[in-house]
Structure formats: structure tokens, C-alpha cells
Amino acid sequence: MAKDDNSGKDLAAADSSGVGHEGAPAGTAVVVRDAVANPGFPPHRPRVTDLDPSAERRAERTVYTLFYLSIVGSVFAIAAYMAFPIVPEDPGSVRMNNLFIGLGLTLALMAIGIGAVHWGKALMFDHEGIDERHPVRGSDETRTRAVEIFQEAGSESGIGRRTLIRNSLIGALIAFPLPAVVLFRGLGPQDDNPAALLSHTMWKKGTRLALDPTGTPIKASDITLGSAFHVIPEGLQDLEHGRLEEKGKAAVLLMRLKPEDLNELPERKGWSYDGIVAYSKICTHVGCPVALYEQQTHHLLCPCHQSQFDVSNHCEVIFGPAKRPLPQLPIAVDSEGYLIAQSDFTEPVGPSFWERN
């Protein structure tokens, strides 16, 4: 099968521009009449290792040296496993363990690889071989026989004739996977409605604002001008279940601005306290925490997709892919001076969803 190079001369006439084996339509391809002929294979060029016996011996030496080196690498990796154990509470030992086992394995692998490739390139018989191609389609006899088989199967089973059997089978085959699809309803809890769940949070009238993550309630007097606090509802840390789910909706940013810098909507006049405002921390784009507060410009920036919200203008969007302002949490101060929520958010927080209106 593998022939010597120059035997390809007889292929010179064959055109390489893609004229099909069995005269398949060439479409808009231009068939060039006076195309230059394929010159056949160029003469074989021997390698240094073919001409110079000392080069050949050198290549051989290189290859087996590499393979022996690989064994050294494997042994080194095992030794490193033992010589560089992980010492509890010492991150440096992890680094050494990782480094030396890894370098040992690298040597073991690379040496095999380079050795084998070098062997293949420098020492193995390097005359190229030729395989003939045949059209991918089956031969005409094969195809005729295949058609016959289907026809025989068709007539022997009567699938074309007995249409009731055929159609009912198709129906049954379509119907039988449907229960499996229905089973996937069980992926979510049974009796909840997601849209309803998304529409309320843990905040309710009188819930104290607490620091994230300690859960310490916050006094209005602790909020200095220009500061920003990450806030959770008091009691969140004591939840047995669903702490992250509740936090994902209830997280709030608390900021204090000069009251004259706040441009409040008339219907929200009573939602702030002495320049202190509370806004949902969950971005209205796809739900990342809007964690970056620029004190000077009163802008909030979402680090994920760079939506920017203007706190002095009820957190409306001034740049980025988000559309809706961050929902505002109405706040007040209780008799002991702690900040409390007046109610839950008045709209769903976080990313938009279909049922939201």
C-alpha cells in the first residue's frame, strides 16, 4: 500500500481542483481547460540521520536518554509525594507539594512525548505512503441491495400497508416519553408559585436593619454622612433554612447623604430618615450585588455588568444594561433609635421576570 515517492508520477494527470470521482455536478466551479499538470511527487530528501551514521547514533542516544529521564521523573514525583507532605495549617507546604509532584510528573510525561516524537521523526522510516481514496458513497450494487432490504422489510412487516398499526405505533412512541417530561416538575417544590415568592422579601413593618454579616442592629446615629453600610434584616442569621435565599432578596445598602442632595419623589417623601436611604442591593439587571458606592457622586456601580445607579435621584439607571431603578426600602426610626423598615419593598427586587408588572 505504501509506495515510494516517485511512483506518484502516474497521478500527475489527476486534477486536484476537486473534479468528482463520478462526475458529480461542479456547480459554479470553473473547470480550467488548460490547467497546469500536477508534477508528481518531488524527489525524496534524505535526513541527516539517513546520511550520517554518527547522527543516527546520536538520535538513538537522545531517544533512550529521554525515556530513562522519564523514569527519573516518575520516581522523583513519588519521592516528592513523600518528601513534601502537607503540614496542617502551613500553606507553604501545599505549594511545595504541588510544585515538586507536578514537576516530577511533567518530566515523566514530557520526556516520553519528546522521545517518541523524536524517534518518529529522526529514526523511523520516513518515506511517505499513499492511500487511494474512494467515493464515500456506497457502490451502486451496495446501494441497490440496501434499498431492496428496506423494501423486503417493508413488505414482510407490512408497515406501509397496515397503516393503522403504523400510525398507532407512531402515536404510542410520541406519547410514551411525555410522562418523563412531566416528572421533571418535581425539580421545584410542589405548592409554591415562583412569581409570588419573588414578589416579597423578609422585610416587614418594624424589622430592624442589621449589619451584614454580624446581624447587629443599626442606630440612625451610627450612620455618619457619606458612609455606606451593607445591611440585612435582623433575624436573618437565626433562620434555620433558606438563609441564602432570603439574603439574596433582602440585602440592602444603607447610605447617608446631605438631605439637600436627595432628590426624592413626592410619594416617597417619608421613606428616608434625615438623609439616610436604604436601597435593594440586588441589581435589577441579572441580580449581582450592587456593591460599589462612589461617595462623591452618590453613584452605585454593579461590578458584574457596570450598571450605574444614582442614589440622589432615587437610584435611577444612569448607565449600563439595567433598566429599572433599585427598589427603595422605606425606613424609619423606632423608639430606641434603631433603624427599622416601614414595610417590605413595594415591588419585587432583583432581575426582571415575565410575571412582573
Binding site: 490547467a35 509525594y81 516524537v117 518518529g120 464515500v136 421533571f184 441579572v286 456593591a291 461590578p303
Partner: protein, 539 residues
């Protein structure tokens, strides 16, 4: 027919005797393995560096399977809250999921565990990159043409599955970054009209983040997706055997032969050795370079996030698409929210992917060429295809760059808004510019090829003629080099002709328009007559 083969093999092997012969005989009598050896053992594979890209993809997948299997023995795919009590001091006593805790244990309490985690992650990054480059190689050389269109589709699905594997794996440790990634997916899914809210609800087993998602992604990551990938890779390679490998144009190579080295021994040595080299490079990266240091991020919590975080590289284009959307694209209509700011990225990326998927069929329809093509195109010889590819690459690159918009803004001290506006411009206009430039460059290179064929190459030797004129001597190229420059398929635009009913259909008009767009600017390959003419002129 196999009986004769087996008997001859038998006679031969018996003669030589020894343990190998006995073993070979034993196996062959039970498996007919000699048939496979006869068919495949001396099968020819052509050589070219660009053919290695697919091999890199295959080998990194093997590395992923090996290192991933190791990781499954230690990883706990549970979101049940636990108190971390491992060796990493800064997180001691912190409450986190069992998934995060076990990932930290793999990194800090199991010897070689961090190494395997890093091998797994680096190999995964390499896997997607190698598939991407392999696809570009296939595209720009026209290797997707008949009979390989379906294998392009299989390979393309593998690319999508590789990204899915990457994303599901990235999410498993349940650290702060991966949790934020899931949060973004949740937000995007919720933006899908009608079903989005429910899909998110079912995916997370209730409200985000829930306690189910890691276990579910784990099933996908180690069972379902790998099974499909293994099956598709098997099909992909089977087709390579059926079609035989393509080859670049070269003297002696035709559409009816394959020229190269046989599987045994040369190809086995080189490809087998190359597996170890790829493995070695991944191992070296894993030894020296940290990847995904989850201990720095901490466990997932919906409230904190750090600035300047980046997804793994292959998800960047989707994240970039989200960032590019201008403000205000969302509205409420008929009591329902239409998140256009989410739908535009989803739909445009979907369309982009669809065009890539069906490109072989589009080009086949435009050319109407039903012949088999086993000789690769040099990219310059298909200028419009190459230009379309350049436009696609530019579009992808613009989206991908946008995923780092915040980093660009902070590193180069430019405004966030300026970066986004520039990238919006580049995403839309960039592909057109790239198309134009690539097409002109291709045509110019084709002209240069013609020039070299007809008048030889510039030898760098300057000669002063008796009249005082200086000329550079041009040397003619040999016939083997010349063949590479003149042997390519050339297409001309389609002429519209009325069909049997004397009508010109809309389909025909569209096809003719596309064909004109593809082949209006064409450089014909040099023929014998021209060559003769140039030859006479020279003397």
C-alpha cells in the same frame, strides 16, 4: 473473505512462534482483531502542524477525564451547610457548603489534590481553546465541504458541550465567584418570556440559590455531558476514518489520494508522543500557575462581590454581550415584563451560533458544488469565505473583550462609558471592516501568487544593465512550488436562468445574489497558455 486473511495470519504467526504469536492468535480467534489491524494499521495520515489542533482537543479531553475521575473520589456535591475545619486557616470556622469545604480539602489536605484540581482546570481551558482553534482551521481551509458537512455539525455540538462542561464544572465548588456566575445565569433565564421564571425555579429547586443546584450540575458534569461527548467524539473520529483525512495542496497530492505517514509506526509514535507532550505542558502549568484560587474568594454569599472578577475565558463572549446593551431596553406590556436587555444578547448569540452551525450548507447551496473535496483550500483562495470568517472572529473578539470592560477602564484610566461605547461601535462596525480588509488581503495575496508563478520570485540580486538601468533578477520557481500556487478551485458567479416553466424563482434570485457576493471578485488560477506566454516574454 476474512477467513483467508485469518488463515494466512495464522500460518505466519505460528511460524514465528513465541508468546506474542500465541497471544495474538488467541485474541484474533476470539475478536478478528487482525481485520482491524489490516484495515487501520497502515492507514495514511497527512502531516501538518494545523492538524495537531484537533489532537490537542482530544488529548486534553483525556486529561480531563483522568484528573476529573480522581477529583470525584474526594468531592462532595452537596450544598448542606458545614463548618469548615480544614487546614486553610483564614476560613476556619466559616460556614460553607459541603461542596466548597470538600474543594478546599482537595486543595489543602490531600497531597497532589491541588495539582489534580489545577490539571483539571487548565486542561478544561485548553480543551475549549483547542476546539475553537481546530474549528477555525477547518473553516479557513474549507475542510467542512462535502463529504464532511455532518462532521462539522458534530464538532460544533462538541464545542457547545465543552462550554457547557466548563460552566457546570466551574460552578461546582460553590465559591463566591461561581455563585455569582450562577446568579447571572439565573437572572438571564428569568428574562426569557413566558417560561423563564419557571425554568429558573425548577433548575434551582426553588428560589435562587437553593440547596439543589450543585448536585444537579454535578450529575450533568460527570455523567450526562461526558457520556454525550464521548459518543460524539467516537462518531467524529469514525468519520475521519471513513472520509480519510484532508491534505493541503502539494505536488503529487490529488483529490484521489492521501499522502502521509502510516499509523504504524510513524504516526503512532508522533501522535502518541504528542499526547504526552500535551499532558506534560498541562502538568507544567498546573505545577507553576495557580488557577481558580477559591480560597481567596470564600464561600458563596449573595451579598458580597469583588470588583474586576472575570469568568473563565470561553464564557467571556456571553458576558460581554450582556454588558454592551445600552440602558433602558426593557418594558412592560400586557401585564408582562419584556427584558429586551437580556433577549438581545440571547437572540443574537443564538443566531451567530446558528450561522456557524449551518455555514457548510449555505456555502454548498451557493456554489452548487456536489463534488467531494479532499484537498484543502489555502485561505487566500476563498477570499469571501475567509473574509466572512474574519468578520465572525472580530465579532466574537469584540464581545470577548467587552467582558473585561471594567479591567480595561481601570488599567488604562479611561472611562467605563467610553470603553462600552467604543466596544459597541467595534462589535457592530468591526466585522464589516474586518471583512473588507481580509477580502482585499486575500485578493492581493492571490495576485502575488500569480505574479510569482508567471515572473518568478524576487531573488534580491540587483543587476546593472549596460544602459545604466538597474533591475532585480527574478528567479523562476520550480514546478513543485508552482503547483501549490496554481492548483485551486475557482468559482464564478451564478448566471440566473429561467426554470422549465420559464420563471425565475425568488430562491434563484437570492442564490444568484449570494453567488455574486461570494465570487464577483475572483483571481483565476494561472493556466498553461499564460505560463507559456510569460515564459516567451521573459526571453
Amino acid at each position: 473473505m476474512s477467513t483467508t486473511t485469518t488463515t494466512t495470519e495464522l500460518v505466519e504467526t505460528k511460524k514465528s512462534g513465541g508468546l506474542t504469536a500465541v497471544a495474538a492468535n488467541y485474541i484474533d480467534e476470539r475478536t478478528s482483531i487482525s481485520t482491524a489491524v489490516k484495515e487501520l494499521g497502515r492507514k495514511i495520515f497527512p502531516d501538518h502542524w494545523s492538524f495537531l489542533l484537533g489532537e490537542v482537543a482530544l488529548y486534553s479531553f483525556v486529561i480531563i477525564l483522568l484528573s476529573g475521575s480522581f477529583l470525584t473520589f474526594f468531592f462532595s456535591a452537596s450544598m448542606a451547610p458545614v463548618q469548615y475545619d480544614g487546614s486553610y486557616v483564614p476560613l476556619k470556622g466559616v460556614e460553607m457548603s459541603a461542596a466548597m469545604s470538600s474543594s478546599l480539602d482537595i486543595s489543602f489536605d490531600i497531597r497532589g489534590g491541588l495539582l489534580m484540581r489545577q490539571v483539571h482546570h487548565w486542561a478544561a481551558l485548553l480543551f475549549v481553546a483547542a476546539i475553537g482553534l481546530h474549528m477555525l482551521r477547518i473553516y479557513f481551509t474549507g475542510a467542512f465541504r462535502k463529504p464532511r458537512e455532518l462532521n462539522w455539525v458534530i464538532g460544533f455540538i462538541l464545542f457547545i458541550l465543552a462550554m457547557a462542561e466548563g460552566f457546570t464544572g466551574y460552578s461546582l465548588p460553590d465559591d463566591l465567584l461561581s455563585g455569582n456566575g450562577l446568579r447571572i445565569i439565573d437572572g438571564m433565564v428569568k428574562g426569557i418570556p413566558l417560561v423563564g421564571t419557571w425554568i429558573s425555579y425548577l433548575l434551582f429547586g426553588g428560589e435562587f440559590p437553593g440547596e439543589a443546584i450543585v448536585g444537579r450540575l454535578y450529575s450533568l458534569h460527570i455523567l450526562l455531558l461526558p457520556a454525550i461527548i464521548v459518543a460524539l467524539i467516537a462518531m467524529h473520529l469514525l468519520f475521519v476514518v471513513v472520509h480519510k483525512h484532508t491534505q493541503y495542496p502539494g505536488a503529487g497530492r490529488t483529490n484521489q489520494n492521501v499522502v502521509g505517514y502510516p499509523v504504524l509506526p510513524v504516526y503512532a509514535a508522533k501522535a502518541g508522543g504528542f499526547f504526552f507532550i500535551v499532558f506534560g505542558v498541562v502538568m507544567l502549568m498546573a505545577s507553576l500557575f495557580t488557577i481558580n484560587p477559591i480560597w481567596n474568594y470564600g464561600p458563596y454569599d449573595p451579598s458580597p462581590v469583588s470588583a474586576g472578577t472575570q469568568p473563565d475565558w470561553y464564557i467571556g463572549f456571553a458576558d460581554g454581550a450582556l454588558r454592551l446593551i445600552p440602558p433602558g431596553l426593557e418594558f412592560v406590556w400586557l401585564d408582562h415584563t419584556f427584558s429586551v436587555n437580556i433577549l438581545i444578547p440571547l437572540v443574537s448569540l443564538g443566531l451567530f451560533i446558528l450561522v456557524v452551525l449551518i455555514y457548510p450548507f449555505i456555502e454548498a447551496w451557493v456554489t452548487g458544488d456536489k463534488r467531494e473535496h479532499h484537498i484543502l483550500d489555502r485561505p487566500r483562495n476563498a477570499p469571501t469565505r475567509t473574509a466572512i470568517g474574519a468578520a465572525g472572529v472580530t465579532f466574537y473578539a469584540a464581545l470577548w473583550t467587552t467582558a473585561s470592560s471594567d479591567i480595561i477602564a481601570t488599567h488604562f484610566s479611561v472611562t467605563m462609558e467610553g470603553v462600552i461605547h467604543t466596544m459597541q461601535f467595534l462589535t457592530i462596525v468591526g466585522p464589516f471592516i474586518a471583512f473588507f480588509i481580509a477580502k482585499r488581503v486575500c485578493l492581493a495575496l492571490q495576485k502575488k501568487d500569480r505574479e510569482i508563478v508567471l515572473h518568478g520570485y524576487e531573488s534580491g540580486r540587483i543587476v546593472r544593465l549596460p544602459g545604466g538601468e538597474y533591475i532585480e533578477v527574478h528567479q523562476p520557481i520550480d514546478e513543485y512550488e508552482r503547483w501549490k500556487l496554481v492548483s485551486y478551485s475557482d468559482y464564478k458567479p451564478l448566471m440566473i436562468r429561467p426554470n422549465a416553466q420559464g420563471k425565475i424563482t425568488t430562491g434563484q434570485k437570492v442564490r444568484a445574489g449570494m453567488s455574486r457576493w461570494f465570487f464577483e471578485d475572483r483571481i483565476e488560477p494561472v493556466g498553461n497558455a499564460e505560463l507559456e506566454q510569460a515564459h516567451t516574454d521573459r526571453h
